[in-house]
């Protein structure tokens, strides 16, 4: 289907722009929680980008990579917010 493929490529381009824009908050954010929020958005936008690319490029392994990215963001946030006070 030509129209859906073009739409998926456009969506993946927009999601890539979102991923890069999230880095700005990661650099800028005054507190570490802001940077972690940017990382969470990075994880979810990256996961959306992966599953769209899996549909476009016919690479089903990218869906597993999307699961890994989402879980990684959660693990990083849990480790940071629940570490013992130093």
């Amino acid at each position: 289907m030509g129209a859906i493929d073009i739409a998926l490529v456009v969506v993946s381009a927009i999601l890539l722009v979102c991923v890069v824009a999230g880095l700005w908050r990661g650099v800028r954010g005054p507190t570490p929680e802001d940077r972690l929020t940017a990382f969470v958005l990075l994880g979810t936008s990256g996961a959306a980008l992966f599953i769209v690319l899996a549909a476009v490029a016919g690479a089903p392994a990218l869906r597993d990579a999307a699961i890994v990215v989402v879980a990684l963001a959660t693990v990083v946030v849990v480790v940071y917010t629940r570490r013992s006070p130093t």
Binding site: I4, L15, V40, L41, T44, A54, A55, R63, T81
Partner: protein, 129 residues
């Protein structure tokens, strides 16, 4: 018809992602930024997963077709829901504790120091001395 539905859902999902990203960049405070990111995650990813699941269930045969693909996409979305909810609670709670610690370090609190009618104290005794 199916093309229209799939492209429409993709467009709505992308719109939510763009809105969430703009919210992350432009909102003034951590809780508002968390709210924007949570909307982008749940709704944006939900609509994109719905579009791709419809395409997988009704599309042409290939690598991205079948019920298994649609089920895996649904599981990715559910994992993201739970993860984002947990992340939001953890980050907001940690930020609040850190902000309170910062405030106490700068100006140690007296009794009823600067607190309005609604106290931050959530102990069962209601903060009674």
């Amino acid at each position: 018809m199916r093309d229209v539905v799939v492209i429409g859902l993709l467009a709505i999902g992308t719109l939510f992602f763009v809105a969430g990203t703009i919210g992350l960049l432009r909102f003034p405070d951590l809780p508002t930024r968390l709210h924007a990111v949570a909307k982008a995650d749940n709704l944006g990813l939900g609509f994109i997963v719905a579009a791709l699941a419809i395409w997988a269930l009704t599309g042409e045969p290939g690598e991205s077709a079948g019920v298994g693909v649609a089920a895996k996409l649904g599981l990715i979305w559910v994992l993201c829901l739970v993860g984002t909810a947990a992340n939001s609670h953890l980050l907001a709670g940690h930020h609040r504790a850190a902000a309170r610690a910062q405030r106490d370090r700068v100006a140690p609190a007296d009794a009823n120091d600067g607190e309005g009618p609604i106290s931050d104290d959530t102990r069962p005794s209601g903060g009674a001395p």
